[in-house]
Each structure stands twice: as structure tokens, then as C-alpha cells.
Amino acid sequence: MASNEEILAGLAEIVNSETGLDEADVQLDKSFTEDLDIDSISMMTIVVEAEEKFDVKIPDEEVKNLKTVGDAVSFIAGAQA
């Protein structure tokens, strides 16, 4: 099971490969849309890749609740349990 720090680092790597954003800019308080300027197609790509990386399921209806990077880390941490 990945720790919250490991989940954040893993998400930062996925965001970087998808958008080119610096991994250091992917912080818990950042909004995917407002701060990181991630569109819906990229968001779904990040979700699918996170599911694979962390071996979890993120239901489509849950994605709209993942407003910040922290929301995603918390959800993935909980889903691993």
C-alpha cells in the first residue's frame, strides 16, 4: 500500500507526463482545473492511469468530486484500504 506521500509523488508524475507541468507544482491544495489548467480529457487520462498505478477503482461519478490534488490523494488512499 502506498503512503499519502507516495500517492502524491505518483500523481505528480502522471500529471507531468500528461501536461508537462513541473512535478513540484502538483501540491495537495492545488485545484486540477483552476490551478493546474487540466481539461476533462486529461483528467480522465490521469484517473485511468492512477487506477492502474495504484490498483484502485475511481468510479466516474466520483471524478467530479476530485477537485484538488488532495481530494485525489485521499480518495486513492481510502480506496486502497
Binding site: 507531468n16 507526463s17 500528461e18 487520462t45 485511468v48 487506477e51 492502474e52
Partner: protein
């Protein structure tokens, strides 16, 4: 009087050069871009053809990671070539009328890597793992769309698809867009990335590919009596077409005039060329008529010449029909001998070479022509480049023919 159209920027990424200066240097020198494929899939599927001509600079070396992830390799090649052509033209995105900037970027096969990778993912991991960018990556208009986005070209983005004639047909589309006044500047080109086991198997199945697995560098040999098929290549070519008045107003460097073009169809057979070369003859004559070109104006031809046993001869017949006795004075280059066959990109890359040939008044060379087929008595450039007439107006023709009976010809004139 129709508007005159000129070529003001060139770009290319090919098996014999990742940019135009390297491509041109090697095209004059005579090198082969073909090599044995090291990919695991060659052995995994026991492919009957084990070599190809890969782009000498792979896109990951020049594009950012998100770009390579979000674009099919064919689109990656298109964007690389288009960026080079744009920079070469000296055009400024801030100053141009974006509504008069269009794109005509061709492909023969489209996003085949994306399509087949997604199919593999679906079968191995299920639908959830098929990424949402799959459709925009596999669509054949992907290269044209990406180039349009990259340049901010709002005057329309077209995707001519006519197999191996596609790249030359894009030139034709670009010429018409400017002549009609719909555009002042058009980024035209072609891109292909089909060195994938499925197309390799499929082209091998129809015996279109050379099987000279023991000597890839000698495999592409247009007009040679021992030719046995083409060599699969990959890459892209791009040209900035511009109305002459637009180019002159900004003091642009002009390589050549795109004087005429034509597209015809054989309506003869889905893959075999018309043995009389009548469709190709009509295309040649129409392109010359379109550019007000007489046979004696023509001094150079970049031939389609793929190195297949049945394809090379009808092109000679067509050239003879169109140029008559002048053909004896025409230097013919078969540059697929060097870089293999870039399918939908080939016409664009070869148009880049024609523009440079009339600009520098010298020709690329043909390699591997050891015993010229007596049925094809063309004056082929072998060994050293041949100087073209130093004075006066000269014309180079670029022929491209595609499965489906597509014939496309462009005529490029010195300025």
C-alpha cells in the same frame, strides 16, 4: 490571371535526416536509411520482412513528453516538420491573418499505432484502460488538426488521403486554396508512421515489400533489374505555400514557384497501376498545362519509383507520353532508393527535394542502381548529383501514385 503561389519554407524529418539541411546533404551524397529492425515484435511475429527505414531522429528526441504522449507518431512527425518549415519561412504568428492561414496535411494510413495499441489494451486490460485521447490520436485528420492548432491556422485544415499520393495531393490542395483566394498561406505536407508489425505484415502479404533481409541498405533499388519491392519508411515533409504578393510584401526568401498541379484517378485496378500509364500521363499533362509548362522547360523529375517490379515501368511510359523526346534531357532521381517509401509523406518530402533541386540547380542521387532495367531507359542520376541548367527558368516534376489508382503531380519552377 490566377494568383502565383510560391514556396517559402521547408521542413522534413526522414530516415536520412531529421531536418532539411541534413536531408539535403545526404540526398546529394547518396546514403541508405534502411536497417534491420531491432524491435522484439519482429521475432515475436516471425515477420517475413525484418527491416525498414526508421526516421533518423525519433520524435521523443525533439518533442516534450506530453506531446509524444498525446499525439500519434504520425502527428508527431507532422508537427516536427511543420515547425521547421514555419521557422524557415520567417513568418510571424503575431503578424499573420490567421483566417487566411490554412493547413493541408496528408497521411496515407493515419494513427495506426494508436489504433492498434488501443485494441491491444482493450483486449488485455478492458475498456476502462483505453485512454480518452485515443480517438483524437487515431483519426487521420490528427496531423492536420495538430498542425492547425500549433500554428493557430484558422483558415481550414484539410486531410487529403490517397495512399502514397497523399503528400503530393496536399500540395495540390494548398495551391488551389491560395489561387482561389481562400488562403494567403498554407502549411502543406504529409506524415506517416506505419512501421508497426500489422502494416509490415500486410504489405508483405501483398508482396509489395522487398525481402532483402540480409542486406537492407541495398533493398530499395528503383529501376534495377533485381528490384523486389519497396522499403517501408516513416517521417514527414512540410512546405509553406504562400501567394507571391504575400511573400514579396514581407521580403521572404522564395525557394521556387509551385507552378502547377493535377490529380487524376486510373479507374483501372485497386492496387495495380494502369500498365499503359494513362492515368499518370493525364496527371502529368494536366499539371504541365496548369502551370503553362512546355516539355522543354522540364529538366528534373523526382519519380515515384518505389522499387516494386510492376510499379516502376508504367511511370516511364507516362513520362515518355508527357515529355516526348525532352525526356532524354531530363535528370530523374529516385530518392526512395535512399529513404525508403514514406507512403503518405513521400510526396511532401520529395516536393521538398524538388524545391531544393530547382533552388540550388542540382539533383539528389539514386543509389543501388547496378543494372538498369532495359524497359526503363530513363536518364537516372547515379553516383554524383547532376547540375541543372544554371540560367533561365527550369521546372522539376514530382510524381506520386497511390493504391486505389490515385495519381498526383506537381510542377515546381525556379524563380
Amino acid at each position: 490571371m490566377a494568383r502565383k503561389v510560391v514556396i517559402t519554407g521547408l521542413g522534413a524529418t526522414t530516415p536520412i535526416g531529421g531536418d532539411v539541411p541534413t536531408l539535403w546533404e545526404n540526398a546529394l551524397k547518396g546514403v541508405s536509411g534502411a536497417a534491420t529492425l531491432e524491435d522484439d515484435w519482429v521475432k515475436e511475429y516471425d515477420l517475413p520482412v525484418t527491416f525498414a527505414a526508421r526516421a533518423s531522429v525519433q520524435p521523443a528526441e525533439v518533442l516534450s513528453r506530453p506531446e509524444t504522449k498525446r499525439m500519434d507518431p504520425s502527428t508527431q512527425f507532422a508537427v516536427i516538420a511543420s515547425r521547421e518549415a514555419w521557422a524557415d519561412s520567417g513568418l510571424n504568428k503575431e503578424e499573420i491573418d490567421h483566417n487566411k492561414l490554412a493547413v493541408a496535411f496528408a497521411t496515407g494510413i493515419g494513427g495506426v499505432w494508436t489504433l492498434l495499441n488501443a485494441w491491444d489494451t482493450l483486449r488485455e486490460k478492458g475498456p476502462r484502460r483505453v485512454l480518452p485521447m485515443t480517438v483524437p490520436m487515431l483519426m487521420p485528420n490528427g496531423p492536420a488538426a495538430a498542425v492547425s492548432l500549433d500554428l493557430g491556422a484558422a483558415g481550414g485544415a484539410h486531410t487529403p488521403v490517397s495512399a502514397c499520393a497523399s503528400g503530393t495531393e496536399a500540395m495540390h490542395v494548398g495551391l488551389e486554396l491560395i489561387r482561389s483566394g481562400k488562403a494567403d498561406v498554407v502549411m502543406v505536407g504529409g506524415a506517416e508512421a506505419a512501421i508497426h508489425p500489422m502494416p509490415m505484415a500486410a504489405f508483405a502479404s501483398m508482396h509489395a515489400l522487398s525481402r532483402r533481409n540480409d542486406d537492407p541498405a541495398k533493398a530499395s533499388r528503383p529501376y534495377d533489374t533485381d528490384r523486389d519491392g519497396f522499403v517501408m519508411g516513416e517521417g514527414a515533409g512540410a512546405l509553406v505555400l504562400e501567394s507571391e504578393e504575400h511573400a514579396l510584401a514581407r521580403g521572404a526568401r522564395i525557394y521556387a514557384e509551385l507552378a502547377g498541379s493535377s490529380v487524376t484517378s486510373d479507374a483501372h485496378h485497386i492496387t495495380a497501376p494502369d500498365p499503359d500509364g494513362s492515368g499518370a500521363t493525364r496527371a502529368l499533362k494536366a499539371a504541365m498545362y496548369d502551370g503553362r509548362i512546355q516539355p522543354e522547360d522540364v529538366v528534373h523529375v523526382n519519380a515515384h519509383a518505389t522499387s516494386t517490379p510492376v510499379g516502376d515501368a508504367p511511370e516511364y511510359t507516362a513520362l515518355k507520353n508527357a515529355l516526348g523526346d525532352q525526356l532524354d534531357n531530363v535528370w530523374v532521381s529516385a530518392t526512395k532508393s535512399q529513404m525508403g517509401h514514406l507512403l503518405g509523406a513521400s510526396g511532401a518530402v520529395e516536393s521538398v527535394l524538388c524545391a531544393l533541386a530547382v533552388y540550388h540547380r542540382t539533383t539528389p542521387v539514386t543509389i543501388n542502381l547496378d543494372n538498369q532495367d532495359p524497359a526503363i531507359p530513363l536518364k537516372v542520376v547515379t553516383g554524383e548529383p547532376q547540375a541543372l541548367p544554371a540560367e533561365g527558368s527550369i521546372v522539376a516534376l514530382n510524381n506520386s501514385f497511390g493504391f486505389g489508382g490515385h495519381n498526383a503531380v506537381v510542377a515546381i519552377r525556379s524563380v
